[in-house]
Amino acid sequence: MERVPILKIGDILLVSIQLDMSDQTAVALQEDLAERIVATGCHGVIIDITALDIVDSFVGRMLSTIASISKVLDAETVVVGMRPAVAITLVELGLSLNGIRTALNVERGMELIAAARADELDYQLDDDPDAETATP
């Protein structure tokens, strides 16, 4: 069985899906990613699907599952590079990519992760009563 490579770039794991994945390969990617998030402590995952010419219900479900798993492991997932024809087909298929953030390309995906991360840190500060400052 072929495996999809996972690259670490700074604080982000980048997965660029270059092959027509079998269901087994998709499931293996899900597991590999969970392990890599824990092993590296990365807080962001970018899944680049530019090369995918279809996303069916199985791959769609895999993307949602990866997003949920990474959330639990304190990482943000962004899916980038969806082709217009794929987006049109997904909607007609009835698949809502629940809980999945999307961005146009890898660069935008990185910005989104950085922004989400900053919000999260803000929120944690706001939550901490000692960190509260009086507004003038």
């Binding site: 027509d20 996303v55 069916d56 199985f58 479900r61 298929l93």
Partner: protein, 139 residues
């Protein structure tokens, strides 16, 4: 309605593993390109084929697919027949309901595939298994 004259021989492919589901997608893509379907229509028919091939494997216990070009005098298209000798689908209305699944899926395969093609026919019984014929025409 299944109007259309077959052109050439259908290409057959067994569906026994998830690697075969990948092959079905590639086979359908090739024929969809050959009959000059638009990119969006190619994507739709390949996605529908992927859903139906997976159902054939998972619920039908494996089976076969035949992919052929069709021509109705005005348009060309791709016709795909999925056949298995599995248990059949007892309640079709239920099976075509978005979200209905007996296998822990999303329950979108059958209903979604029907939306993605132009013609969709299904014959199913516990004796003969399930046979689904779909057609997508060029515009």
């Amino acid at each position: 309605m299944t109007a259309g004259i077959d052109l050439g021989h259908p290409q057959a492919q067994a569906i026994r593993s998830d690697e075969d589901v990948v092959r079905v997608r590639q086979l359908v893509r090739g024929v969809a390109v050959a009959v000059k379907l638009s990119l969006v229509d190619q994507t739709k028919v390949v996605t529908a084929a992927s859903e139906l091939a997976r159902n054939t494997l998972v619920y039908g216990g494996g089976g076969t697919v035949e992919v052929a070009t069709v021509d109705n005098g005005r348009r060309r298209g791709v016709r795909i027949v999925f056949a298995d000798s599995g248990p059949g689908i007892p309640d079709l209305d239920l099976a075509f309901t978005d979200g209905y699944t007996t296998g822990g899926g999303l329950g979108l395969g059958l209903s979604g595939a029907r939306r993605l093609v132009d013609e969709f026919e299904i014959e199913t019984s516990p004796e003969t298994g399930t046979r689904i014929t779909v057609t997508k025409w060029s515009r």
